[in-house]
């Protein structure tokens, strides 16, 4: 596993794309697609913990 760097997380983000992209091989295809889907799914993790705090 790649060494993780501590990043201050912004709203909507659990693991920033900038951190994740360092862990994966060079993207030969559509990098923007990989980034977008990473961020969309990552946002679900963010929603989970903040909704646990606020709604549940």
């Amino acid at each position: 596993m790649a060494k993780k760097t501590k990043t201050k997380r912004k709203p909507g983000v659990c693991i920033p794309w900038e951190e994740k992209v360092k862990e994966i091989p060079k993207i030969s295809g559509d990098k923007e697609l990989v980034r977008k889907i990473w961020e969309d799914v990552d946002a679900l993790g963010y929603m989970y913990i903040w909704q646990c705090l606020l709604s549940f």
């Binding site: 679900l44 913990i49 646990c52 705090l53």
Partner: protein, 398 residues
């Protein structure tokens, strides 16, 4: 029939939105925040509507179909305890498990020394709120989630899997519920999205009320910095759940940030400076916020009056609604003011008299929405809710 429902929905939406923008609609909108009342009316126990959200949805739809209400919350019972039990949440007393099946769910605040956040952990929260919630807070509030550094477990892994799947299941069911209310009874979904004040959420779920009021004396700079660190996250969550059509407001639940829970000085130092910019940001994005002012917040009306015109809808619980109208009525729509005790132990005539008094006092120029003071639970008499509804329809025409 479908066309009639769509027309009814359009009329109700226009009525509701016009009032919320502090205008004068054709009639006073009726938007009762019916919680466990829907169970009583539809023949369910509190356990059924709290633990099975489909039953809560069905009960809400039945009420919406039978009462002439303009808007309702799609499920005002709110906490689905099927989810909270699945992830091992410790802080709820669940109907049918910890409390009798026909008692509404309860929040159990831990003793001060067992608060979910320790007094020396402010820096961790300030540095990384999301990380703190995952790594420190969640393991403490869940019986199944392992703390950082402890061995993981089957129950730990399942907690995240089941919790995530359950939350998506619940939220994915909300959209169809909104549509069914519209299609089947022409009823508007009253709110969209959630907001709590930074100061309130620290008291509610992190330090506890006693811990926080100690902290404002012993480590005030940390408290303020923590509130500030939470602001962008709470703003983000509120906006991410907001109505994309910008019609209905974000629900903002106000708890213990007011006098006498805190002093005026502490309200001015902690609560308001870390809430006001959130409301302004949300309004700048085109969304209203419904201030659900539980208890009595009249000591702070002048602060709320600093907000831009129409930025909020102000819901009145125990406070003097006529005083609220005097201070805020020129700027904001007001809702509520019919005491829950009256709906519980009063007579229909007493309810009608109270509704008349409130309508005469605050609704003459529009900008008022009929509702009880607080969420309506299963102690309310059905005939009293009917009296509130029918009287408002008869008398509340402009």
């Amino acid at each position: 029939m479908a066309k009639d429902m769509e027309q009814l929905y359009a009329e109700r939406l226009k009525r509701y939105v016009t009032a919320m923008r502090n205008g004068k609609p054709d009639k006073i909108p009726i938007r009762p925040f019916v919680a466990e009342f829907v169970a009583k009316y539809a023949g369910y126990t509190c356990q059924e509507v709290t633990h099975d959200y489909e039953k809560a949805f069905a009960a809400t739809r039945k009420c919406a179909a039978d009462f002439d209400w303009d808007a309702v919350v799609i499920n005002m019972v709110w906490v689905w305890t099927g989810l909270t039990e699945a992830i091992g949440t410790k802080y709820y007393a669940v109907p049918g498990i910890h409390i009798p099946p026909d008692t509404g769910f309860q929040y159990r605040e831990p003793p001060e020394e067992q608060a979910f956040m320790k007094p020396d952990e402010y820096d961790q929260l300030i540095e990384d709120p999301t990380g703190y919630l995952f790594n420190v807070w969640l393991p403490r509030v869940s019986a199944d989630v392992a703390a950082m550094g402890e061995p993981t477990s089957y129950r730990n892994n399942l907690s995240f899997l089941k919790g995530g799947m359950a939350m998506l299941s619940y939220f994915n069911a909300c959209g169809p519920q909104v549509e069914r209310l519209r299609r089947e009874s022409g009823t508007v979904s009253a709110i969209s999205g959630i907001l709590k004040a930074p100061f309130d959420i620290i008291a509610d779920k992190l330090r506890g009320y006693l811990g926080l009021v100690t902290d404002v004396m012993e480590r005030p700079d940390k408290v303020l910095a923590a509130c500030e660190a939470l602001m962008p996250h709470l703003t983000h969550v509120a906006l991410s759940g907001a109505d994309p059509d910008k019609n209905v407001p974000i629900g903002f639940w106000m708890h213990r940030g007011c006098v006498p829970f805190v002093s005026q000085k502490h309200f001015d130092k902690f609560y308001w400076p870390t809430l006001k910019p959130i409301i302004e940001e949300i309004w700048a994005n085109g969304h209203q916020v419904l201030f659900y002012a539980e208890g009595n917040w009249n000591a702070h009306l002048k602060s709320f009056a600093e907000l831009p015109d129409q930025a909020i809808v102000y819901h009145v619980d125990h406070a003097d609604i006529f005083e609220v109208h005097k201070v805020l009525g020129q700027k904001f729509c007001i809702s509520g003011g019919i005491p829950n005790y009256l709906l519980s132990v009063g007579t229909p005539d007493e309810v009608r008299d109270c509704c008349k008094k409130v309508i005469d006092g605050v609704a003459r120029d529009g900008g008022y929405i009929m509702d009880a003071s607080a969420i309506i639970q299963n102690d309310a008499k059905i005939e009293n809710i009917k009296a509130m509804t029918d009287f408002t329809r008869e008398y509340g025409t402009y």
